[in-house]
């Protein structure tokens, strides 16, 4: 009985020492994973995930606090990428979080009163203008996050879907005529 106890205590003590030592020896600073997750996220900074921006969401995912299906701008594709990166199963979007088509914000310059509220809201500084001056959006830098819509007191900002033209047209998935039409 005593010997059994001694043996177990001995093993435990030895392992404890080794683990304690290696905890110091192999200490990991920071979490390089956050950057990897952040790189997958679309950087719209829209906050639709419930976190104030892409980086905080990446940190939450890395800590295991957030699900991977909270980013509508990333699309299903984004979830797949996150699932691959993290070795998790694919999770479909929750209710009401489905991604929309890509769009850019557009300020109706006749109605804009120059209140600068949208400028303060824009996470990527894609709106130019000054107080009492009409504002405008740099379309090439707009991420389509819609964060400027809510603060606008006169509802002069609308989201315009990006139309397909000859420069951004892409090849469709070929129709595979093997399947029976359902």
């Amino acid at each position: 009985m005593i010997s059994a106890l001694l043996v177990m205590i001995g093993i435990a003590a030895f392992l404890g020492t080794v683990l304690g030592f290696s905890a110091i020896r192999f200490k990991v600073q920071g979490n390089p994973l956050v950057d990897k997750i952040d790189a997958v996220l679309p950087q719209t900074q829209c906050g639709q995930c419930g976190y104030p921006g892409c980086k905080p969401y990446a940190e939450a995912i890395a800590k295991g606090e957030a699900e991977i299906n909270l980013c509508p701008p990333g699309g299903e594709d984004g979830i797949h990428k996150l699932a691959d990166l993290l070795g998790k199963e694919f999770v479909p979007f929750g209710e009401g979080a489905a991604p929309k088509g890509k769009s850019v914000a557009f300020i109706d310059e006749n109605t804009c009163i120059g209140c600068t509220l949208c400028i303060q809201a824009c996470p990527v500084d894609a709106i130019v203008g000054a107080a009492k001056q009409m504002h405008t959006i740099i379309a090439s830098e707009c991420t389509g996050c819609e964060l400027c819509l809510a603060p606008c007191p006169v509802d002069c900002i609308s989201m315009l879907p990006i139309a397909e033209d000859i420069t951004n047209w892409k090849w469709r998935y070929p129709v595979f005529p093997i399947r029976n039409a359902a």
Binding site: I113, V124, P153, K170, Y173, I178
Partner: protein
């Protein structure tokens, strides 16, 4: 005899070339209108420099190049600009692009023009001439020739002149070589000198003996000592630039590498021809040779003004009534035209009138059984069956690992596929998806930078504000201390008013300032409102009223959210 190299794979589809080589090149009739796209070249779309309703002369610039990689577009004949708008063009998407529509006046009146002796002017000037003349690669890639004819820091040893023309049906280069070999080679000589190349190798498939003979004769006639005409075996796709370079020089130019880096540059014979016309005769690229063949009674090559609607062109070759669509280019890599109204562009080497009998609808695709017929014929030595597998299942990462971007979309794999799988469509789909993703991730990168900078800026501003505040507080505290000391002193000196607290005075002052500012704002008027029409005044009033209204609601709405 020069050694000929082989590239892997390749196929031998029936050529169908005999039909259109029986008659010499004929000028096409002047069409009723010309639809000239402003984007006929690789790079940035030319900018329209004419107005609707303007009369233009033949050879007049109607589109000016924008940026380094761009080219000039000219009026192909004299007439009136009737529209500058979106018109259908020859593109896989079937989407419209900006075109200039020109109604010819029938006079075909040239703008003033004249050629130069290229030996008298600098290379830079020659290149400028090529750019001004809108000369681009006429083999199909339409890459601006002035950019290509610049060796930069690379030492070009060999210039390859591409007369292989491997796609079935197409004979425009063949006929051009038969009839205008001398001008082609003169143009090639100019390009060679621009590149400082040691030799010019002209590669022509051995199924064009007349063209080979004519070109060889021209070499002898004009004593082009650096040039050699080489007959290459007929195999598709030997006319692909990289494949022809491999055949003639043995050098393999990998995907993503440009041939000058390996000391080779390649031009099409028609490009060399138009370069010569542009330099020696001052004629910009206004027309090109187009093979009209397929479901027509009289297949032949026309010299066609750019912008000529396909419809009017094919009619001249005796289009048969059961023609249901038109293909621009060859059957392997061509584009099915969205409509017959599309204008002939610089890339249009061939128009095939198609009928269900000539090109039956594709058989339904069966599953891939990995028979590897495709891998046997792939000139890029890829494994098309694996690419297909990954493209089909949207596994783009794997597709790239299997060298998707080395695919030249020649269609040899789809041609031999016993299961009739439209393989190239899958590769194109995968490629454009990957491109889109790359663009997206670039956009995301940009957004991240901007966002991080913004965070940093806000943080910095906050810090600065805090610092300022701290300083102010310090100053205030010091002032207060000083004031207190002074007050103490004063109190000691004289009895004082206990209400005269310095903080209170400050508050009062601020309020006064605010009131002043408000008054000022209300009374100041913008300076440009002195001379207004009554109508403008009314508009302004209306806007002001709206502003006031909105302002009221804005303050109501915004206040709780405002930080």
């Amino acid at each position: 005899m020069k050694a000929i190299f082989r590239f892997h794979g390749g196929i031998h589809p029936p050529t169908h070339k005999a039909a259109s080589t029986r008659t010499p090149i004929t000028p096409a009739a002047l069409p009723s209108k010309l639809v000239i796209p402003l984007h006929q070249h690789v790079g940035i779309r030319a900018k329209a420099v004419v107005q609707v309703g303007e009369r233009v002369l033949k050879g007049q610039v109607i589109g000016r190049p924008e940026g380094r990689l761009s080219s000039t577009v000219h009026a192909s004949t004299s007439g009136t600009v009737s529209a500058i708008d979106m018109q259908l063009v020859a593109h896989h998407s079937g989407l419209p692009d900006l075109c200039v529509t020109l109604i010819p006046d029938g006079k075909d009146e040239w703008i003033e023009h004249g050629g130069v002796d290229y030996k008298q002017i600098s290379h830079t000037e020659v290149r400028h001439l090529l750019r001004q003349a809108g000369v681009v690669g006429l083999g199909g890639a339409v890459f601006p020739s002035d950019v290509k004819a610049y060796s930069n820091k690379h030492k070009i040893k060999t210039m390859v002149l591409n007369g292989a023309e491997c796609e079935p049906y197409i004979t425009c280069d063949d006929m051009l070589m038969r009839e205008r070999a001398h001008d082609i080679l003169r143009g090639a000589e100019v390009l060679r000198e621009l590149l400082y190349a040691e030799e010019v190798l002209v590669g022509i498939e051995d199924n064009k003996p007349e063209a080979i003979a004519a070109m060889r004769q021209a070499v002898i006639d004009d004593q082009h000592e650096h040039m050699r005409v080489i007959s290459v075996p007929t195999v598709y796709p030997s006319g692909g630039a990289k494949q022809l370079i491999r055949i003639l020089t043995g050098i393999e130019v990998a995907a993503g590498v440009r041939s000058p880096e390996m000391g080779v540059q390649c031009f099409n014979v028609a490009t060399a021809y138009s370069a010569w016309r542009a330099i020696r005769h001052g004629e910009p690229l206004l027309s090109r040779i187009v093979t009209v063949t397929g479901n027509v009674d009289d297949a032949r090559n026309f010299e066609v003004l750019l912008g000529t609607p396909v419809d009017e062109l094919v009619t001249q070759a005796g289009r048969r009534p059961d023609t249901d669509r038109h293909i621009m280019g060859g059957p392997m890599m061509g584009v099915q035209l969205p409509a017959a109204t599309v204008g002939v562009a610089k890339a249009t080497n061939c128009i095939i009138a198609s009928s269900p009998a000539l090109f039956p609808p594709p058989q339904p695709a069966l599953p891939c059984i990995r028979c590897t017929r495709c891998a046997e014929v792939c000139p890029a030595e890829l494994q098309p069956q694996d690419l297909y597998w990954f493209a089909k299942s949207n596994n783009f990462g794997k597709a790239q690992e299997f060298h998707l971007f080395d695919c030249i979309e020649c269609g040899a794999c789809a041609y031999v596929c016993p299961s009739h799988i439209p393989l190239v469509s899958y590769y194109r789909y995968a490629k454009s998806e990957i491109w889109e993703r790359e663009q997206e991730s670039q956009a995301a990168e940009l957004a991240r930078e901007r966002h991080e900078y913004r965070q940093y800026r806000i943080e910095r501003e906050k810090q600065e504000k805090a610092e300022k505040l701290a300083q102010k507080e310090k100053a205030a505290a010091a002032a207060k201390a000083a004031a207190a000391a002074a007050a103490e002193k004063a109190r000691l000196d004289t009895p004082s008013d206990p209400d005269a607290d310095p903080d209170d005075t400050m508050q009062l002052r601020i309020e006064a300032a605010l009131a002043r500012a408000k008054e000022q704002a209300a009374t100041t008027q913008p300076k440009n409102t002195d001379t207004l029409t009554p109508q403008q005044q009314a508009e302004i009033n209306e806007i002001d009223a709206r502003r006031a209204r909105i302002h009221a609601s804005a303050h109501h709405d915004a206040e709780p959210k405002n930080e």
